[in-house]
């Protein structure tokens, strides 16, 4: 059953990795944490749920809806919490994202009701069985989609001028602005993209766990942030690695001790690790 736990870990790790990338993006550009990330995830999940229940059972459309809602709300948060607050101490922006977190959560629970909504299953049949370990098509799909997303991001960052601009702004926004780059526009774009990513992940998670509710984003956001710091928040490959490692550690730790200790174990490992390598696994001081 070691293998089964590892498979579960990798599937869950895909979700963590994508959330971690979002934290990395925002950190890279603004040296900031968006505390409303969990709620963007939750809104994405609701968007996917609405599409599946009321528009079309097409999974692709649902994922796209989650992506778009994340994009729009992410854009809005950047405008209010960061752009409008430029020049005031950083802490004000942080608090503002915390405010967004509560606001979005309460809004969702008023709009959709506080009770958990059921999300239908997709591709839940077993795809492969290896040594008694079952891998469902959904798990395959999640890992594949996560990898595709990561490759697309990599291409965006390293093969396009937009990506070059994002990297330049992340490395040194003053110099970037002297190169004629519209720092505001680049920042807004990357922030929206990070929102879109978690919105997208929200839909995946809703399908994987078959549930949507207003409080669903809290734990994954904390885990995603942890994964980002673990892997090195200044590095996107680091964030990905951190996500998969955290997923694997969490699930494997359940095998060896009571599941009640699983968060305890992963955070203990994190703290010990960061004592020795504060920049994370792949983190450097300034690299995105």
């Amino acid at each position: 059953m070691f293998l089964q736990q590892l498979i579960n870990g990798i599937a869950q790790g895909s979700l963590f990795a994508l959330i971690a990338i979002s934290f990395s993006l925002v950190w890279g550009l603004l040296r900031m944490v968006n505390f409303a990330m969990g709620e963007l995830y939750m809104l994405g999940a609701y968007a996917g749920w609405l599409v599946v229940m009321h528009v079309t059972p097409n999974l692709g459309v649902a994922l796209f809806a989650g992506f778009m809602v994340g994009w729009i709300v992410g854009w809005l948060i950047e405008k209010v919490a960061f752009k409008a607050m430029r020049g005031v101490p950083h802490i004000a922006s942080l608090v503002c994202t915390i405010g967004f977190s509560f606001f979005l959560k309460e809004t969702a629970s008023t709009l959709f009701g506080a009770e958990t909504k059921s999300m239908p299953s997709y591709y839940s049949q077993t795809a492969f069985t290896i040594a008694e370990a079952n891998i469902s098509w959904l798990q395959v799909l999640m890992v594949a989609v996560a990898i595709i997303m990561m490759v697309l991001l990599q291409l965006l960052f390293y093969r396009t001028k937009v990506g070059l601009a994002v990297r330049a702004v992340a490395l040194d926004y003053r110099t970037a602005s002297l190169m004629g780059m519209k720092v505001d526009r680049v920042t807004s774009l990357a922030f929206s993209l990070s929102g879109a990513l978690v919105g997208f992940v929200g839909v995946l998670a809703a399908i994987y766990y078959n549930a949507v509710n207003a409080g669903m984003g809290f734990v994954p956001a904390i885990k995603g942030f942890t994964a980002a710091v673990f892997g090195g928040i200044t590095s996107i490959p680091g964030a990905i690695l951190g996500g998969y490692l955290l997923g694997a550690i969490e699930n494997l730790s359940v095998k060896f001790m009571s599941s009640g200790y699983r968060d305890f174990v992963s955070f203990l490992i994190l703290i010990i690790f960061l004592l020795f390598r504060p920049n994370g696994i792949l983190g450097k001081k300034t690299k995105l």
Partner: protein
């Protein structure tokens, strides 16, 4: 939405009118002011709203029939959001209001126990419809639970598991809070007393959504059946993830699983799950049918066990006030403690010396997407 808004506004009005009476400092001798603490919003909102609707309904009925001791009931409602801190804050608020005779609530044992010292110090009845932790009612002479403790619930489930379903090896999965730990422990004791064996025990914290790891681990122990000490929403999630793993085994659980939401959320994955109830909405008893149909007409949903228990709370309190002949807090408490064979919707109520109701429970099972009484 609209309905919610209306009930929200009426709650606000009700609460503020309660404030007005308090602020004026003139306790109105023609009313009996009671308080309700319930999770109106948050994870347990379904239960909280059932509380509120049911209590309002019971009070309207009593008031329409002339009240008690020629006084009308008046209600103040507070939203604890299922958060022990909020529940304790509301306890501070209620106990500082001298017009309030007694408090009904809260929903979870954790919330009730967080607020307990405050009610105890102030000397105010803390009558919980649903607190089922064995140490709750015994913790203060002012605390009462009409739910009955695990102590009365789990023997029924253990008997079902061993005698009827012939399970020998079982696995336990519980939510790691006061209630979950207690429920799981109580089932284990009763199950082992009857010769069963618990082969694996696992837990999780509130807010968890990924149960794949825990279920994978439990599966390794090859139990005959799984016992769930969880609320309905987690129960549905666990069942769906279990179904996806194609791990098919019988599941039995605490009465907290008994909710139409379990079926709505869990779909086919919850088919066959056993739970138990003290109140069953399809019970042919005419009193229960009258209550259910009025409730459905008024609020649009079928009342759950929490609703029925909250309804019983109002009536048993009214009965105690009548027998006490006054609204003096001490007199009412003593009268309440001596309640005997009070016929509630959710079974009859007699309080033990530790103020836990002794009740009987009926096992139910989900069959074809519906709860049915187990013969």
């Amino acid at each position: 939405m609209k309905k919610k808004l209306i009930s929200l506004i009426s709650t606000v009005l009700l609460v503020s009118s309660g404030f007005a009476a308090w602020a004026a400092g003139t306790p109105n001798s023609s009313i009996i002011h009671i308080a309700l603490t319930a999770p109106i919003t948050g994870d347990y909102a379904e239960y909280g709203n059932n509380f509120k609707h049911s209590v309002e309904m019971a009070i309207d009925e009593i008031n329409a029939n002339g009240g008690v001791l020629n006084k009308k009931f008046e209600l103040s409602v507070g939203d604890s959001k299922g958060d022990p801190k909020e529940s304790a804050m509301l306890a501070q608020k209620w106990t500082s209001d001298s017009t309030i005779v007694a408090q009904i609530g809260d929903f979870t044992s954790t919330c009730c126990m967080a607020a307990q010292p405050i009610y105890n110090r102030a000397g105010m009845i803390q009558l919980s419809p649903t607190a089922s932790h064995t140490k709750f009612a015994s913790g203060s002479k002012w605390s009462f639970s009409v739910y009955g403790s695990q102590y009365w619930e789990q023997p029924v489930m253990a008997a079902l598991a061993v005698d009827k379903l012939k399970f020998k090896n079982m696995a336990l999965l519980y939510i790691n809070n006061d209630w979950g730990v207690d429920t799981q422990k109580s089932f284990k004791e009763n199950f082992e007393k009857r010769g069963g064996k618990i082969v694996a025990t696992e837990s999780y914290f509130q807010g968890e959504t990924d149960f794949n790891a825990v279920l994978t681990k439990l599966k390794e122990f090859k139990p005959d059946a799984l016992f769930l000490a969880t609320m309905y929403n987690d129960g549905a999630l666990i069942s769906k993830q279990r179904e996806k793993m194609s791990w098919n085994l019988p599941v039995i659980g605490a009465s907290a699983l008994y909710s139409p939401q379990l079926i709505q959320l869990g779909g086919t994955a919850v088919n066959g799950i056993y739970s138990n109830v003290s109140f069953f909405a399809k019970d042919p008893d005419p009193r229960i049918q009258a209550y259910v149909s009025t409730f459905e007409k008024k609020f649009g949903n079928t009342p759950n066990f929490a609703a029925a228990l909250a309804y019983d709370c109002v009536y048993i309190l009214a009965d105690a006030i009548k027998r006490a002949g006054s609204v003096d807090r001490n007199a009412v408490r003593d009268a309440l403690a001596s309640s005997k064979d009070f016929k509630g919707l959710a079974g009859s109520i007699t309080f033990t010396a530790e103020r836990n109701a002794i009740k009987t429970y009926k096992p139910v099972q989900v069959i074809n997407g519906e709860f049915q009484l187990v013969e």
